[in-house]
């Protein structure tokens, strides 16, 4: 079964770790994460070709079950699945039985009757993918659960950093914003600490969860010490509609004390990367000139998202022993 992989370098690529599910990055080891990122590097080379398609997941059905609305992540997964030749089926909260009061498990059980191989789940409740994983046979890929994890975002962020900086061991990464409610922050923290990075989180005290240091990060109530000397500055989206007036007084004040502008960015290393998982509130957590500036890799994050999701779908969805680039028997 195992054939030599097509790689741009001509070297044999690692087949990567076989994954049953991808529920989060907390359970993975550093080597497994590096293995996924290596597969993603191979996938990225595919995306640069004129024919951007591999036969690897031909005959594999991938269900995109998006109970919480999301455009970017869903589209990214859909492109990833299609580039691997999988059949995709997309369900969202509106226009599905959820709006008729059907439970998550009922919906999943009904989907299961169609023998999907992979279910990609986005859900507003932390732990929802764990619930599904306990009740269905399909591989579950967490596409964001409540305030818990967004593992493919964590992987694509690490991928982007690794591409620009090489090994992340000892690199200082500042994550700034609403750490408490951010699944992006958690997945990044779990991922980056395992890769040896020095992770600092910063934001108003109302947005720093209790005992956040127990996740092996350094926490700051002001952003300057986090950004100072950083190799990467990652800004998180502020949910103005829900939080203004309770967790911070106003968007204006937030920008003044916690936003990333050119002056604050100057505290970081000269070529520090500026990242944001999107969608951005320009002028709130990030100044427009910084978002569009030379140090910003925000659009590359989006591009890398497809490669990382291809890698993940391949690792959970490919028949055992198959390698990226293989065609199914």
């Amino acid at each position: 079964m195992s054939t030599t992989l097509e790689t741009t370098s001509g070297r044999e690529a690692t087949p990567g770790p076989k994954l049953r599910h991808l529920l989060g990055l907390e359970q993975l080891g550093g080597d497994e994460i590096r293995g996924i990122l290596d597969v993603a590097a191979h996938m990225k080379s595919v995306n640069l070709r004129r024919i951007k398609k591999l036969p690897t997941l031909r005959g594999v059905t991938v269900v995109l079950l998006f109970v919480e609305p999301s455009t970017r992540t869903r589209v990214s997964f859909e492109v990833a699945a299609k580039r691997l030749s999988a059949d995709t089926l997309s369900l969202s909260a509106s226009g599905s039985s959820f709006s008729k009061g059907e439970t998550l498990l009922d919906t999943a059980k009904n989907l299961e009757a169609m023998q999907p191989d992979v279910i990609v789940l986005r859900h507003g409740a932390s732990g929802a993918p764990h619930l599904l994983a306990g009740h269905v046979d399909a591989a579950i890929v967490n596409a964001g659960d409540g305030s818990h994890e967004h593992p493919t975002q964590g992987l694509l962020d690490a991928f982007t950093m690794r591409e620009k900086l090489g090994d992340l061991a000892g690199r200082k990464v500042a994550i700034v914003g609403d750490i408490t409610h951010s699944r992006v922050a958690r997945s990044n923290i779990f991922c980056l600490t395992k890769l040896g990075a020095d992770v600092h989180v910063a934001g108003p005290r109302t947005m720093l969860p209790v005992d956040v240091e127990s996740l092996d990060v350094t926490a700051h109530a002001r952003v300057e010490p986090a950004i100072e000397g950083a190799d990467v500055v990652m800004m998180l989206r502020i949910q103005r509609e829900r939080q203004e007036g309770v967790l911070f007084p106003s968007a204006h004040e937030y920008h003044r004390f916690f936003g990333l502008d050119a002056e604050r960015l100057a505290l970081a290393k000269p070529n520090a990367l500026v990242m944001h998982p999107g969608p951005m509130n320009r002028g709130v957590e990030i100044a427009p000139d910084v978002a569009d500036g030379a140090q910003s890799v925000i659009l590359e994050q989006v591009e890398n998202g497809v490669a990382v999701r291809m890698a993940v779908l391949y690792l959970v969805g490919a028949p055992h022993g198959m390698q990226p680039g293989d065609a199914p028997a």
Binding site: H123, S147, L215
Partner: protein, 433 residues
């Protein structure tokens, strides 16, 4: 008249402790004899003879907190299944919370519960009346009429009373009818939306936390109001180290305060929630290691009087959902004593500590006489085998619900037999010559 002869049990008489191996004879509704090990009773034709070697014989256990679900949600539990579950767990007395549908905020509901329980006749069901109308915390429920009908305490189930002024008058009014006030002490604003204990694990799991301080704040308030009103106050299911410290201080001041915790809070920490097990989503939440240590110390030094099951039956449909959406609570009546003896096996407690928390402690909280195991006492008894292994599954579970993490798992510690008023209400009779 035939008798029941219980031979060779380790006999527990609450004020004296485990007094040693004895033979106990039940005649009619009372204990007729307690004989020395060397002096067994004569066996007559027709006597029920029980070989009780290795088992503990105790006054029937008393549970301060079970959710009966009747009236209104009989698909989850009813007073019949609750009674059967209770006696299978060794309980002969169970206080049921008022959070039924309709809720027990009216003497008609109190009477219904008592009449149904008497018809079933397996154990003593004691109703907790609601403190406020519809348990909404806005005005007082008819506490006097419910007391007249047979309510033994008042409290708003798992609802905190937000208004301090209303709580003051509830305490004053209830104390006039000699009823203790059972409080679920948590600041409802601080706890709003909370899914688990706020700490490193809630941070890790991305679940909204309920800080221990939400409990501390309201236990402090309730104790202040008890001091003001001199009402008898019972703190239900205390979960935190600071909550325990406040109760200890109140007791030291001589205030009439009692407290209970649950078996889950004594046994587990919030780390147990790592895989989002919905059946460990509890109110109050299972807290951190320091809190658990404080609860254990408080049971040892008497700050915590009782351990309750907080038996909360819920339909599978309410549980096969996301953690955020799951109804909190777990069933525990049938496993509670075994779970407690597990902590004895781990040398955290002596048998007297856990037996006291199931007998004397709850009776103190209710203002009832301490149960005795002596000649002339009522034969409400449980013969408990702490070492017996069994599995809680569809064949053994007597509750209508199965929402517990122990379902399908082996459990150690089984009530072999339970007697209520001298009648065998649980366990197979083995009549021998």
């Amino acid at each position: 008249m035939s008798k029941t002869l219980i031979l060779g049990a380790h006999v527990y008489d609450p004020p004296r402790g485990v007094i040693g191996v004895r033979h106990v004879v039940i005649e009619g509704a009372t204990i007729a004899e307690v004989r020395a090990d060397a002096d067994p009773p004569a066996v007559r034709e027709g006597d029920d003879v029980v070989d009780a070697k290795g088992c503990v014989l105790s006054p029937g256990f008393i549970d301060l907190r079970a959710h009966a679900r009747e009236p209104g949600d009989e698909q989850d539990e009813d007073l019949n299944s609750l009674s059967r579950t209770a006696v299978a767990g060794g309980f002969t007395t169970v206080v049921v919370t008022p959070d039924t549908s309709p809720c027990n905020d009216d003497c008609a509901v109190t009477e219904l519960i008592l009449r149904r329980s008497a018809e079933i006749g397996l154990c003593r069901i004691l109703p907790m009346g609601a403190l406020t109308h519809r348990m909404q915390g806005e005005h007082l429920a008819p506490i006097g009429e419910m007391a007249d009908a047979g309510a033994v305490c008042v409290g708003d189930g798992d609802q905190a009373v937000r208004s301090s002024r209303l709580m003051r008058s509830a305490m004053e009014y209830a104390s006039g009818f000699n009823l203790p006030v059972f409080v679920h002490a948590v600041d409802p604003d601080l706890a709003q939306g909370g899914q688990m204990h706020e700490g490193a694990w809630s941070t890790r799991l991305g679940l909204r936390g309920v800080p221990a301080e939400a409990e501390e704040a309201f236990i402090g308030r309730e104790i202040a109001l008890a001091s003001l009103t001199r009402a008898r106050l019972h703190i239900a299911h205390v979960s935190s180290a600071r909550g325990v410290a406040l109760i200890r201080e109140a007791k030291d001041r001589g205030l009439p305060v009692t407290a209970e915790t649950t078996i889950w809070h004594l046994a587990l920490t919030d780390q147990a929630l790592a895989d989002y097990p919905v059946n460990l989503k509890l109110v109050p939440p299972i807290r951190g290691a320091e809190d658990r240590e404080a609860l254990r110390a408080a049971l040892l030094d008497g700050t915590i009087d009782a351990v309750c099951s907080d038996h909360t039956p819920d339909n599978v449909a309410d549980k096969a959902v996301e953690f955020d959406a799951a109804a909190p609570g777990a069933i525990a009546l049938q496993t509670c004593a075994g779970q407690l003896f597990e902590l004895v096996r781990k040398k955290l407690f002596r048998p007297e500590n856990v037996l006291g928390a199931l007998t004397t402690g709850p009776s103190v909280a209710l203002g009832r006489p301490e149960p005795r195991l002596q000649v002339g006492a009522a034969a409400d008894l449980v013969l408990f085998d702490p070492e017996r292994e069994w599995t809680l599954d569809a064949t053994t579970n007597l509750s209508k619900s199965r929402n517990t993490v122990l379902f399908g798992r082996p459990v150690r510690g089984l009530a072999r037999r339970t007697w209520y008023g001298g009648r065998l209400v649980w366990g197979d009779p083995q009549r021998k010559r």
